[in-house]
């Protein structure tokens, strides 16, 4: 499994295999040393070493230019000119994902929640497990590592379920995300020339594209892992049906948000502190979450906006009112639920304008255009609507399942007709395919 994973990653650029090996070796060694250490100081030094090496690599490859440019700009405000050159640095695919995964392992040992493994092969395989290496889910050592250590046998039912989940992931990526992609790109590339209606449509289409693209990848990764007998954590739990922003963040990119909660938010005191610190903690995790996506102020603002959405709910103790799932017995949501779902969807859609545009200036132009630009209604985008309808209908009807192809119907003919339908719709849109997964850039 390790060699397959290394070949998979090295196919893109073998030079960056070295980074994964450094990261894996550091945390493997630090893990063992942490177990031996008795003194708190030693433990702190070891953890600090792991954090410094992992975040150092991540920081250099992902944030170096951002910090240099920001530094120079700040000095220029005071009339000084600094000549620090930026570097042309290629961002290694998946670096943010595997760095957090391996870092989580060391922190868990530091806290004493898991014991380090002596099985080097298993640990290196855990860090580089190919289905989830480049875009998650960011796995926890407590879940995935033991699966490498125990003997696995082929499980027919699990493999079958994995194949169905891969099919659903491919549908989301190829049929939905890649079909929407050219429309979204055209709209976001020249917002000045688009009408308000087109810009609003563009923002909505981007939300659906991003969801289909990223959750599609997660489904493919989880499904592939199932074929090999592994069970990965759920990364998306139908977030577009969330009834408020707090529920949304419990369902969207779960592996990252729960990572920040476990390793940043709770150590800072979480919500069991005074109001000021509560507010600080919320801002910290949302801003960090934005910054994790990339070195740009747009991502930070995206995080800030979501923090602003979330805070009123938390301060009024309403952030956990939608813990219970939506009534399963209902084919259609209640009117109040529908309004809440739409409200949450639109709030998130608005924040994603900052996520999609390259600079804050571009985002402001887009938002201005959404309000002031004149022009017609975007009839041209109706030709993708059937794909969005299929996506939403299937996800709504199966929202209690791990994925929508765990069909609720018992009718065999209907089941296989549905599999064929999804297969065919996916194949039918293959000519649109070819776009990289959006989250590969992170």
């Amino acid at each position: 499994m390790l060699s397959v994973s290394y070949i998979f990653y090295g196919w893109w650029d073998p030079r960056f295999l070295l980074l994964i090996i450094i990261s894996s070796a550091t945390d493997y060694a630090v893990g063992l040393l942490l177990e031996r250490s008795r003194k708190k100081l030693h433990k702190n030094i070891l953890l600090g070493t792991s954090v410094a090496i992992n975040l150092g690599i991540l920081g250099f490859f992902k944030y170096y230019n951002f910090f240099v440019e920001s530094f120079v700009e700040t000095f220029s405000l005071f009339g000084s000119t600094l000549n620090i050159t930026t570097l042309y640095i290629v961002l290694p695919v998946g670096i943010s994902f595997y760095t957090f995964q391996t870092l989580g392992y060391t922190i868990d040992i530091y806290r004493g929640t898991i014991s380090p493994t002596r099985n080097m092969l298993a640990f290196f395989s855990f860090v580089t497990f190919f289905p989830q290496l480049v875009a998650g889910p960011i796995e926890r050592s407590a879940n995935l590592l033991p699966q490498f250590l125990s003997k696995r046998t082929f499980n027919y039912e699990q493999a079958k379920d994995g194949a169905k989940q891969i099919l659903w992931g491919l549908f989301k990526k190829i049929a939905v995300a890649d079909t929407l992609a050219p429309h979204v790109t055209a709209i976001f590339d020249s917002p000045e020339t688009m009408s308000s209606a087109v810009l609003i449509t563009g923002a909505i289409l981007f939300t659906i594209q991003l969801y289909a693209d990223f959750s599609g990848y997660s489904d493919i990764a989880i499904g592939t892992a199932k074929l090999f007998g592994f069970k990965l954590m759920i990364n998306f739990a139908y977030p577009l049906f969330a009834r408020d922003i707090a529920e949304f963040w419990r369902k969207w990119h779960i592996s990252l948000s729960s990572w920040f909660i476990d390793y940043v938010y709770i150590p800072l005191g979480g919500s069991k502190v005074g109001i000021k610190k509560k507010i600080r903690n919320v801002f910290i995790i949302f801003v960090l979450s934005g910054f994790w996506h990339g070195a740009s102020f747009s991502y930070i603002v995206w995080g800030l906006i979501n923090a602003i959405y979330f805070l009123p709910l938390m301060l009024r103790n309403k952030n956990r009112i939608h813990i219970e799932p939506i009534d399963e017995s209902r084919m259609v949501p209640r009117f109040s639920e529908l309004i809440n779902i739409l409200k949450t969807f639109l709030l998130f859609t608005f924040s994603l304008i900052f996520f999609r545009t390259e600079t804050l200036g571009d985002a402001m132009i887009y938002i201005q255009g959404m309000v002031f630009n004149s022009g017609g209604f975007p009839v041209a985008y109706f030709n993708t609507i059937y794909l969005i309808v299929i996506l939403f209908v299937f996800e709504w009807l199966h929202k209690s399942k791990d994925h929508p192809l765990q069909l609720v119907t018992k009718n065999k003919v209907l089941k296989y007709a549905t599999y064929f339908f999804i297969f065919y719709i996916t194949v039918a849109h293959l000519s649109n395919a070819g776009n990289e997964f959006i989250y590969f850039q992170f």
């Binding site: 194949a163 065919y424 039918a428």
Partner: protein
């Protein structure tokens, strides 16, 4: 594991068969999607003859050798009959794309004459079967016809045949496995493609579909320019030699399905009052096929205007009248159009 793989293969085969069936049904529903599938320039030309269907009464259909070599204004000024000509030809527009163009154009109105350039039906391996324009011309019937041509063309080497068969199979698989169905389905929901009068006027009001080939030697150094001329001259001489040494043998050169399709189309158009005249512009890219088609079309009573013979038309093989080794330049085009009009006038007598 065995059971899982067995089921995966079984469903793969089953889904493939179903995909072919579904695709065939979906593609058969066509509400005039030709313009949405064809290359922009060809779609524009089709829009132009639709817009001015009361104006044009004569069409030239063919490849770049017709597009760059027939000047409609000159042709109309030289013909004895009242022709108003439009040049519908396009670069790379061969075989069944051309055939579709002839069929669809003739459905718009009854033309007096349609000139049709003959070329072999198989697309070369470098033609991208994924493009919409190519995909539109693929069908089960055309697949068999192209297969038949490849098998019957004796000038092809084993490697050529293999490459052409591969391309033919890929085209069919790509289309009917359903890879392009998404585009077709979106056309049901799309607004119909509209071309503005301004764009059509800009493109066609002066030259009526004729396009002069661009001078590709402008950016070259003197040395490179001379090398390029030498290359063209050598290739032209090869074409001349090929023609002179070629011996046509009707017993070896079997008629293929594409030629039969052309005959059917011409007969059908004739019954509607349109005179379909086949043409072989100078400098053949597949001499054997051109002469074979000429033989069988003439045998069936159709007119074929043949400009291939370098001894009869030596001027068409002169370097100074060449754009490149396969195409004439503007001066050459004037000469060719003039001679074409003369031959056409003779036919009308």
């Amino acid at each position: 594991m065995k059971r899982f793989i067995k089921e995966l293969v079984m469903y793969g085969i089953g889904f493939t068969i179903l995909s072919f069936g579904f695709s065939a049904i979906i593609y058969s529903i066509d509400f005039g999607f030709y313009e949405a599938y064809e290359d922009h320039y060809i779609a524009l030309k089709y829009a132009e003859i639709k817009r001015n269907k009361d104006v044009y009464n004569t069409l030239f259909l063919g490849t770049s050798r017709t597009r760059r070599q027939i000047i409609p204004e000159l042709f109309d000024s030289l013909t004895d009959t009242d022709t108003t000509t439009f040049n519908m030809a396009g670069g790379g527009l061969k075989s069944y794309r051309l055939y579709n163009q002839a069929k669809l154009s003739s459905e718009l109105k009854r033309y007096d004459t349609i000139f049709y350039e003959v070329s072999n039906p198989a697309r070369e391996g470098n033609v991208n079967y994924k493009t919409n324009a190519v995909m539109y011309s693929v069908s089960f019937r055309n697949f068999i016809s192209i297969y038949d041509y490849i098998q019957k063309d004796n000038s092809l080497t084993f490697e050529d045949k293999f490459a052409l068969h591969k391309n033919n199979v890929l085209e069919l698989l790509y289309k009917y496995y359903g890879f392009g169905v998404g585009y077709h389905m979106q056309l049901f929901l799309n607004e119909r493609k509209q071309f503005s009068d301004t764009e059509l006027n800009e493109r066609f009001s002066e030259h009526y579909g004729y396009t002069e080939g661009a001078d590709r030697t402008i950016s070259l150094s003197e040395e490179d320019r001379l090398a390029l001329y030498e290359f063209h001259e050598r290739k032209i001489n090869e074409l001349v030699e090929e023609y002179r040494s070629f011996i046509f043998n009707e017993y070896v050169q079997e008629e293929d399905l594409y030629i039969k399709d052309l005959k059917k189309l011409a007969t059908n158009l004739a019954s509607k009052g349109t005179n379909m005249i086949f043409m072989l512009p100078p400098r053949a890219d597949n001499l054997e096929y051109n002469l074979k088609a000429k033989y069988y079309l003439q045998k069936a009573g159709f007119v074929v205007l043949d400009f291939l013979d370098p001894d009869m038309y030596p001027e068409y093989y002169k370097l100074e009248l060449s754009q490149d080794f396969l195409h004439l330049n503007k001066e050459g085009a004037k000469l060719y159009t003039t001679e074409f009009a003369r031959k056409f006038n003779e036919l009308q007598k």
